[in-house]
């Protein structure tokens, strides 16, 4: 992908906080990344890593009491994180499209598909009702809904899961957005349907030049779709780089462990690689590197000093292993972690 163009989306030092009675929880901590026009950026992580919150912060749909505490989000150079609700509403849909995990909850069950598409098109584009309907039909054909002329007047419950997700994609593409934030778009679908949806998403983005931020926990989906990938852990990006490098030559110990623990159809081994322990709760993020209690390569420095992203191979990783001063004296894992 063209990297010399100015980025379409710039996220700088984003922090998302949740004030609670027992103090403020930091769910997204100092996250920065860019997405170039037409690029697919995969964001992976396990549940609670903050990947969905990052996506929601970009489209301005953070659920209160969650709030952006610091940082900037710029779309085509213009700040969008501090816009009033009404202005953000105009950007959302027109310039940023959104696709969510469950296609049944992102469609209104009381209105026909044509109604929902036409409404969205007319909100963002100056088209007459009949022109909007013609565009809706065109979109449904484009996302591969067979018999679109008939099905356009059907209600969401008359579509199957895969077809519903196609409608949601059509809805996201309505006003020709520059960026689509897709949050687990294939997680609710069966594997055979998943492959169809991924192929569709890829094709549409290539044809329209739309950039995609693909949020998922499924490394397989990322491997097939993304150009670059950002791996998140406990609210921070721990590694970011071209998808091939991150998958084949992971630099951060967490990414390595994550890649090893995915069962693949390679050599059958007695045991899978496992990362002992589990991700820390937001109430108890460890000092230093958040991954240190589970990291077999940890040293004294990891316990006290928090690493930022630094060059590592073809990627960038937040790990002292890639720093000239290294991790310091090795510290073995605590026994509780192994059993956690």
């Amino acid at each position: 992908m063209a990297t010399n163009n100015p980025p379409l989306l710039e996220v700088r030092n984003l922090r998302v906080e949740f004030p609670t009675r027992r103090g403020t929880l930091l769910a997204v901590d100092d996250v920065s990344f860019d997405i170039a026009p037409g690029e697919v950026l995969g964001v992976v992580g396990e549940s609670g890593a903050g990947k969905s919150l990052t996506g929601n912060a970009i489209i301005g749909l953070l659920e209160p009491p969650g709030r952006i505490a610091a940082g900037e989000i710029r779309l085509e150079g213009k700040r969008i994180d501090n816009l009033p609700y009404e202005e953000m509403r105009k950007i959302r849909g027109a310039r940023i499209g959104a696709i969510f995990q469950d296609p049944l909850t992102s469609l209104n069950p009381l209105y026909s598909v044509s109604h929902q598409l036409v409404e969205t098109i007319q909100t963002h584009l100056p088209l007459s009702a009949s022109a909007a309907r013609a565009r809706a039909l065109e979109l449904l054909k484009e996302v591969g809904i067979p018999g679109a002329e008939e099905r356009i007047d059907h209600y969401p419950h008359q579509f199957s899961g895969g077809m519903r997700q196609r409608v949601v994609i059509a809805l996201a593409l309505c006003a020709g957005p520059r960026l689509i934030v897709a949050d687990e778009p294939t997680t609710a679908l069966d594997v055979s349907i998943q492959a169809q949806i991924i192929a569709l998403l890829k094709k549409l983005c290539r044809e329209h030049g739309t950039a995609v931020m693909l949020v998922t926990h499924d490394m397989g989906v990322i491997a097939e779709t993304a150009d670059r990938v950002a791996v998140m852990y406990a609210g921070r990006i721990v590694e970011v780089g071209p998808v091939r490098d991150v998958i084949k030559h992971a630099q951060h110990p967490y990414t390595k462990g994550l890649m090893g623990s995915i069962p693949s159809l390679g050599v059958r081994t007695e045991r899978l690689t496992q990362i002992d322990g589990s991700m820390p709760r937001l109430t108890a993020i460890p000092k230093g590197c958040a991954f240190n209690p589970r990291c077999t390569a940890r040293g004294e420095r990891c316990l006290v000093e928090r690493p930022d992203l630094m060059p590592a191979g073809a990627s960038r990783a937040a790990c002292w292993l890639h720093d000239a001063r290294g991790v310091g004296a090795p510290v073995p894992l605590a026994r509780e972690t192994v059993n956690a």
């Binding site: 396990e46 549940s47 199957s160 899961g161 895969g162 077809m163 069966d190 594997v191 055979s192 349907i193 998943q194 492959a195 169809q196 991924i198 192929a199 926990h217 499924d218 490394m219 397989g220 989906v221 491997a223 097939e224 998808v243 091939r244 998958i247 084949k248 462990g257 994550l258 890649m259 090893g260 623990s261 995915i262 069962p263 693949s264 159809l265 390679g266 050599v267 059958r268 081994t269 007695e270 045991r271 899978l272 690689t273 496992q274 990362i275 002992d276 589990s278 991700m279 192994v338 059993n339 956690a340």
Partner: protein, 343 residues
């Protein structure tokens, strides 16, 4: 019952009546509606092996799991466990001995543990129910040992389920399942609610326990890569029927049924070999109204007239069975596939 068979399932069927209420049916002249969730399945599981059932949602794999442990009575067919017909042994004494020897692990570790019970009581319940402990001290020792077996500590018994993460809760479910000293575990998607790094921990634990305690597993999953790692034999289900079963290596190296091949094609390519997932046209039809003949024919690239009318029988081939007219007639070439080769 064939030699060496430990769990023998023959012609197993389970239909669910999902009709509207009687009055609505009469007023609106609607017929009864029956879902054929499991429609005639034969499985043999040998002692000490892991038999996996894979398939997409709605294919009936979880129903099979529930039938095997007796949570549903079958509509038709036989389930024999170590020579005992599960259907006829309804008398209390004999049945409870059999029940003790098979246990189940459920998918969702958040729903399958009682939130109001301490972990100790959750794990002690099967021991108490089957009267397996001599006294209180013995019970405490047994529960402590079980917790250590799943890599938790005896002190964790005092806690409540909400104090544990998803992976730890699944360990508690496993400890509970092991409490009655079973030989046969039915695992219904035990890792699909977990994150990958935790999934690896649980799969490793299950494989360790199997070796140590000589357990037999019936493993239900939709994830072919997981199944590849854990199973001895694999059965592929589609719309309530078993379309293919074979030893794991054979199934992944030389898949025969077109549906099996399609499922294998949809596994994401993590080795970045550049293999494109071949998106298959069509979707799983509604089990309320399954297609005639071979239920896969509307999506099958090899289907012909015979497939539309005649239901294929499972025929033995290369150590497994396949229910496909195309394979039987030799219309569909069987070839080695390189799904398992590293790129």
């Amino acid at each position: 019952m064939p030699e060496g068979s430990y769990v023998h399932i023959e012609g197993l069927k389970r239909y669910f009546d999902v009709s509207a209420p009687w009055l609505v049916r009469k007023l609106e002249r609607r017929p009864r509606q029956i879902v054929q969730a499991v429609d005639g399945i034969d499985i043999e599981i040998a002692k000490g092996e892991t038999f996996s059932l894979v398939g997409e949602s709605g294919c009936g794999k979880s129903t099979v799991a529930r039938l095997v442990v007796g949570l549903y009575p079958p509509t038709d067919g036989r389930i024999e466990f170590d020579g005992n017909n599960m259907a006829t042994r309804r008398k209390q004494g004999a049945h409870s001995t059999l029940r003790r020897r098979m246990q189940m692990i459920f998918q969702d570790p958040f729903a399958s543990l009682n939130p109001r019970w301490r972990v100790f009581d959750i794990i002690a319940e099967p021991i108490r129910a089957f009267g397996l402990s001599k006294d209180k001290a013995d019970l405490e020792k047994q529960v402590g040992d079980l917790l250590e077996q799943v890599k938790l500590t005896p002190a964790d018994g005092r806690k409540y389920p909400h104090e544990f993460s998803g992976g730890q809760r699944q360990r508690i479910s496993i400890a509970r399942a092991l409490a009655s000293q079973p030989e046969f575990l039915v695992c219904d998607e035990p890792t699909s609610a977990l994150d990958v790094s935790v999934q690896a921990q649980i799969l490793n634990l299950m494989m360790d326990l199997q070796r140590r305690l000589k357990l037999t597993y019936l493993f239900i999953s939709h994830n072919l890569a997981v199944v590849y790692h854990i199973s001895t034999r694999v059965g592929v289900m589609y719309l309530g029927r078993l379309v293919e079963q074979a030893p794991t290596d054979t199934l992944f190296r030389r898949p025969k049924h077109p549906y099996t091949r399609m499922l294998l094609d949809t596994i994401p390519d993590l080795d970045m070999t550049g293999r494109q997932r071949a998106p298959v046209a069509g979707e799983v039809p509604s089990p309320l109204n399954p297609p005639s003949g071979c239920s896969f024919h509307p999506r099958c690239p090899f289907a012909n007239e015979r497939c539309k009318v005649e239901r294929p029988k499972a025929l033995p081939i290369e150590g497994g069975t396949v229910a496909c007219h195309g394979i039987e007639e030799g219309r569909i070439p069987i070839e080695d596939r390189s799904y398992t080769a590293r790129g």
